[in-house]
């Protein structure tokens, strides 16, 4: 997994509550059996005026000029500002894959849906929860300053604005450790193989029916 330490980048505001993962990446793009290539279809229904299809060259499609990511001032954005309950709905990991493929590294919101929040960490993407009134201010500052950049320091757990104002955020220690070191979760878990095996043996004794289920018919 890609490591995450510090990152600075242009912020782009997605100004609505309850942005769901269907909106982040519509279902027709879930047919891919790969993890990459979803970037051109991030927010497909908001971004283009026609209906997107998989395996289509999106650079030829009519774009919606009103959509934030189509405005030149947000070109190259890598920090997303978002509203309440970002990433709700379907568990599709294609949502963080699409954000990542587009070039986002950080999403800042007052709250996230649980599964999406979790999926971000597995893909080197950092979701940051800040107080709603702070997020409101970042939205305002972003709107009134072209080229508005935010700097994120994961080891220090801070977000810094262009004027030097700094906000701290919380992040769970294990996830932080994995992200900073680019650790593969599975490898870490397998270090506890012996523990898993002994738990399993005990469980087999206590609840044998859980282990013969797919054999007796």
């Amino acid at each position: 997994m890609r490591k995450f330490n510090q990152h600075s980048g242009i912020a782009a505001p997605i100004d609505r509550n309850n942005v769901d993962t269907d909106m982040i990446i519509p279902k027709q793009f879930l047919k891919s059996i790969k993890r990459t290539g979803f970037g051109p279809n991030l927010f497909d229904e908001l971004r283009y005026l026609d209906e997107g299809k998989p395996d289509q060259d999106s650079s030829q499609r009519p774009i919606n000029p009103d959509f934030v990511l189509n405005q030149s001032r947000y070109a190259g954005a890598s920090v997303m500002l978002a509203r309440r309950n970002f990433g709700c709905g379907s568990s599709r990991e294609h949502a963080p894959w699409a954000l990542d493929d587009y070039g986002f590294r950080v999403v800042i919101a007052p709250s996230f849906a649980d599964i999406f929040y979790n999926n971000c960490f597995k893909n080197g993407l950092l979701p940051i929860v800040l107080d709603e009134n702070i997020v409101d201010r970042l939205f305002d500052e972003c709107a009134s300053n072209e080229g508005y950049q935010l700097s994120i320091d994961l080891p220090a757990q801070t977000v810094t604005t262009p004027s030097g104002e700094t906000f701290s955020f919380d992040v769970d220690a294990f996830r932080k450790h994995c992200l900073i070191n680019g650790l593969d979760d599975i490898g870490v878990t397998l270090e506890d193989s012996a523990l898993i095996k002994s738990y399993e043996a005990e469980r087999r004794k206590q609840s044998p029916w859980l282990f013969d289920s797919f054999t007796h018919s």
Binding site: N18, D22, E93, T189, W209
Partner: protein
């Protein structure tokens, strides 16, 4: 010391290791797989040269992409080549790794969340995960069940464990009896209307109270299914006789001596009387009417006698903007009675409402009546091949067909429109599924979530109407 909640018990029972940093390794008893969220996980295993930890914990089936007509053609019947590759990839992966799969032509094929319980692959006390957010459905059996992402699918395949943070406990209690004509779907929509789509974020919800325990397993599954729409990954109902009677005699449920052992363990799967919840929400069953969503989020819901809200009356600016946007997308004017919403299509199906009881309720409403001529389509998609067979044995297929509804083969179908079944732009659909997000059932499509009985009544009337007038 205070007693334990059901969630606490399930958690403690599956705890392999508590790490110092607050995260924990949790053992997974059952892992369900489908074609959309697994290919990248199998690919990951192959790249790292890893093997599944425990084959017999896994069960797979294709459901999202399968066509709901002309099933006899099997995989060849999938016209969209990209969809076909995904289903073929699941077959290949399961064959290669040795995972039990109900393939497209198997009568046991169906929506993962329908077939788990139907087969007895879902058992009380288990931890159950699947790369699908509606895995919460299985919590109806007193299990700890939730959706996971593809990286976690790979993690569970490789280690039989998940890295988890313990959630907080929430009790949603529905007191008293429900009114006639009010179903599990109406109850869960009313709950989401009350607590909002983020109301359960960070919580494991236990549904309790007389109204919940008077429901069948089908009704409980519908409620747990949609706990994710309230933001909670986990929804649960304590085990009682209804649970145990449902599980008994299923193909993969325990037999003989193991059955008795299992039942005595399952009897403890309820919250202790002195357990403390971090949050308690109460509703009165008698206050709940049949529900209809009017907007683009499941929390945008009113009773069948309600009206579409007026954004000018909303004081929170972000919410007001949300209402304005939803009304624009849905093509609705503020203050319109929901019963005046004219429909183009009706969809009865999905992992929320495609079990036998759902089909019986819908059939009872349409029996001897005709679908409104103004509708373009009304379809019924059973949740599995076995639900289909059961319905046909009861003659429900004939009731639907005579009334003018289409009778389809099992799959997710128009719930998310990954197969050929979808809404046209601007079309209004009464749907028994779980998400009314923009574009969910087709580009520009407008979804209204209702119970199967309400969908059936809407099919007859051509617009929403109070199903209680049809009973």
């Amino acid at each position: 010391m205070a007693g334990k909640t059901l969630y606490d018990k399930l958690w403690d029972d599956h705890l392999v290791k508590q790490r110092d940093d607050g995260s924990a390794l949790i053992y997974i008893d059952r892992h369900l797989l489908h074609e959309v969220t697994s290919p990248q996980a199998f690919e990951g295993l192959r790249l790292a040269d890893r093997k599944p930890w425990r084959l017999d914990a896994n069960l797979a089936t294709p459901d999202h992409n399968v066509p709901t007509t002309d099933r006899v053609r099997g995989i060849d019947g999938i016209d969209d080549p990209v969809s076909r590759i995904q289903v073929e990839t699941l077959d290949k992966n399961c064959d290669e790794f040795g995972i039990l799969e109900f393939k497209i032509l198997d009568q046991r094929q169906g929506i993962v969340h329908v077939i788990g319980p139907e087969q007895g692959a879902t058992l009380p006390g288990m931890t159950i995960v699947c790369g699908d957010s509606h895995t919460s459905t299985h919590g109806a059996f007193g299990t700890l069940a939730h959706g996971i992402g593809t990286s976690e699918v790979e993690h569970v395949l490789a280690t039989q464990c998940l890295v988890q943070q313990k959630m907080k406990n929430m009790l949603v209690k529905v007191n008293g009896a429900l009114r006639p004509g009010v179903t599990g779907k109406d109850v869960v929509l009313a709950i989401i209307g009350k607590i909002g789509t983020a109301g359960g974020t960070g919580y494991a919800i236990e549904f309790g109270g007389e109204a919940i325990h008077s429901l069948s397993m089908e009704g409980r599954m519908t409620i747990c299914n949609m706990s994710i729409e309230a933001g909670a990954r986990v929804g649960m109902v304590a085990v009682d006789d209804t649970t145990i009677n449902y599980v008994k005699g299923r193909p993969y449920s325990p037999k003989g001596e193991n059955w008795d052992l299992a039942v005595s363990a399952w009897r403890d799967l309820h919250s202790d009387a002195d357990a403390v919840f971090d949050k308690v929400v109460e509703l009165e069953g008698a206050d709940i009417l049949p529900q209809v969503t009017w907007g683009t989020s499941p929390e945008m819901v009113v009773g069948v006698d309600g009206i579409v809200p007026d954004p000018d009356k909303e004081s929170d600016p972000i919410k007001r903007e949300g209402i304005v946007r939803a009304l624009r997308y849905m093509g609705l004017a503020a203050n319109t009675p929901v019963q005046d919403i004219q429909l183009d299509r009706v969809f009865i199906g999905s992992c929320t409402n495609s079990r036998i009881e759902d089909l019986r309720e819908a059939a009872a409403v349409v029996k001897g009546r005709k679908v409104a001529a103004s509708l373009k389509q009304a379809m019924v998609v059973p949740g599995s091949g076995l639900v289909k067979a059961q319905a046909e044995q009861e003659g429900l297929d004939k009731v639907f067909i005579e009334a003018g509804l289409e009778w389809r083969d099992p799959g997710c179908s128009m719930c998310l429109a990954m197969n050929a079944d979808k809404l046209g732009q601007g079309e209004h659909c009464a749907s028994t599924s779980n998400r009314n997000f923009e574009g969910r059932q087709g580009f520009g499509g407008r979804t209204h979530l209702v119970s199967p009985a309400m969908a059936a009544a809407a099919a007859i009337a051509g617009h929403f109407t109070d199903v209680r007038d049809y009973l």
